[in-house]
Symmetry: none
Subunit: 150 residues, 2 copies
DNA sequence: GTGTTATGAATGAACG
DNA sequence: CGTTCATTCATAACAC
């Protein structure tokens, strides 16, 4: 019964950007405002306030985090593959068909840290309903974690 | 499976440490490295990579979680009474003690916003939206801003 | 197969 | 501004 994603996104203690807000934030961030001024923050806050509760502090923090996180990509995505054992017992790699959406619109789990944001790629999700599927397209598991080697 | 139509799991799998890796991690953690540096992370990752797939991010997260968990576990055991039934812990008490506890209360979004005031122009603190902030901290499933999904 | 627990991962907020 | 803490979510692992 509960298998269904019956997650009520009820209120949380800490601010949670709505997908729309997030989209806007990312967009702005991507626009090239690495150092949003106070005025800018205010503006953004005001703008985003139309889509949900938000405060200037939230915006400020968000940008700070965003920047830090981007830079944080130094933490290697390097998948250290070791093939000590030639045996690669395929466990149950039941890869489901990548379709459908996740469960929560606000947080799409990414892989490790993003690789590089230098790419001038503007990936934005339009569609008021959001195709989570597309969001997931970024996942790059690039690994077969199903195997246990002891 | 899944009676609900809402199903679909992403292809992303969560990293699962092998017992060996876990053992090593615990050992390192126990050694007294509460704050593993990036270099350390790399080292550990490399080491553990010999026992299974792992990335620096995994190691980093593991330590973070480990630490948080430890703290949390240790903070709770001080149960005074062996009360079988626990009363409702959540009481609406917005009265702020002048002396906040040392614990870092996940305060709701404050509005200090007093970091660098680079703006040459003074700013008016009148944000009408601050009222929302407070509301947000408590918003329940009620029909307040429930429509902020998109 | 269903429900619960354990734990990795993501993120907002705070500290230095 | 970079790093760390705390909280929450999602999912693998486990128990029923």
């Amino acid at each position: 019964m509960m298998a269904c994603s019956g997650h009520k996104i009820s209120a949380r203690q800490r601010w949670t950007p709505t997908p729309l807000q997030l989209q806007l934030l990312e967009r702005i961030f991507d626009e090239g405002n690495g150092t949003p001024t106070k005025q800018k923050i205010k503006d953004i806050t005001n703008e985003l306030g139309q889509h949900g509760p938000i405060s200037e502090t939230n915006v400020y923090n968000w940008f700070q985090n965003r920047r830090a996180r981007s830079k944080r990509k130094q933490l290697a995505p390097t998948s250290n593959n070791n093939n000590t054992s030639s045996a690669e017992p395929e466990a149950e790699t039941e890869v489901e068909s990548p379709k459908e959406k996740k469960t929560r619109p606000e947080s799409f789990q990414l892989q490790p840290y993003d690789y590089e944001n230098s790419s001038p790629h503007s990936l934005y999700i339009h569609s008021p309903d959001i195709g989570f599927d597309q969001l997931m397209s970024k996942i790059e598991v690039s690994g077969c974690y199903s195997s246990y080697f002891l």
